[in-house]
Symmetry: C2
Subunit: 110 residues, 2 copies
DNA sequence: AAACCTTATCGTATATTTGCGATATATAAT
DNA sequence: ATTATATATCGCAAATATACGATAAGGTTT
């Protein structure tokens, strides 16, 4: 492809897609799952649990952070991460606003 | 990377990630949005609305169908698509089962 | 049958993602 | 200061995703 056309869609569509992209890899789901159980976790613990190299885990953490799904701060030589629940609430709201209203009303067509 | 490691995660993580991947592109969100408003739509209408070539739209439709998010059947020379609401309900349930239980209980850490 | 219309598939180019080892960086411990 | 520990970043290789034009496949219409 010569050009990416993501920009030509609405901001809402882009935001929702970006959020979905952030959770579109099982490793990142697994990271979020660990974080949701402790709501605070250092990178090293995650590396031990996941079947991935430390650098790979760090990269996934970075993507989650860039997408705003998690917050992180350095704690001495370690990094402490936790889930940004507000971001998840926003995703849920956006997701529902797209489909909820029609879920009931429509019979299936095919 | 020599190998993909997605298989090493749990089925639930893989399923959720696969669903998220399917909606991780604004074009596919837009397609779903059109379908949700009519709950029945032929490919041609979608091609007219989206800023993409017919072959590209067809490819996105195929991905949505493979992921089980939409159903489709041929109607003469046309193809009729509609949303598979059950798949969306399942996604919502899985998504919530991962995070819902802890949303309230946790204070933020960082 | 021939011409037409609609959609799916193929081939191709380019961009992005995934993954790892090596290395850099920053703090803590000795 | 040196060493150890923890995490981030860089550079690279391989796999996937995105997009399009061209073409095939299937059904209508004439």
């Amino acid at each position: 492809m010569a050009v990416h056309k993501k920009e030509e869609f609405s901001a809402k569509e882009q935001n929702l897609a970006a959020f979905a992209k952030a959770i579109s890899h099982p490793a990142r789901i697994a990271i979020l799952s660990v974080l949701s159980k402790r709501n605070q976790c250092i990178c090293g613990e995650i590396v031990e649990i996941l079947p991935l190299a430390q650098s790979t885990v760090s990269q996934h953490l970075k993507e989650l952070k860039n997408a705003g799904l998690i917050d992180g701060e350095t704690d001495g030589p370690r990094s402490c991460y936790c889930i940004n629940w507000k971001a998840f609430e926003k995703f849920n709201a956006d997701f529902n606003s797209l489909f909820e209203k029609l879920k009931e009303a429509n019979a299936k067509c095919c």
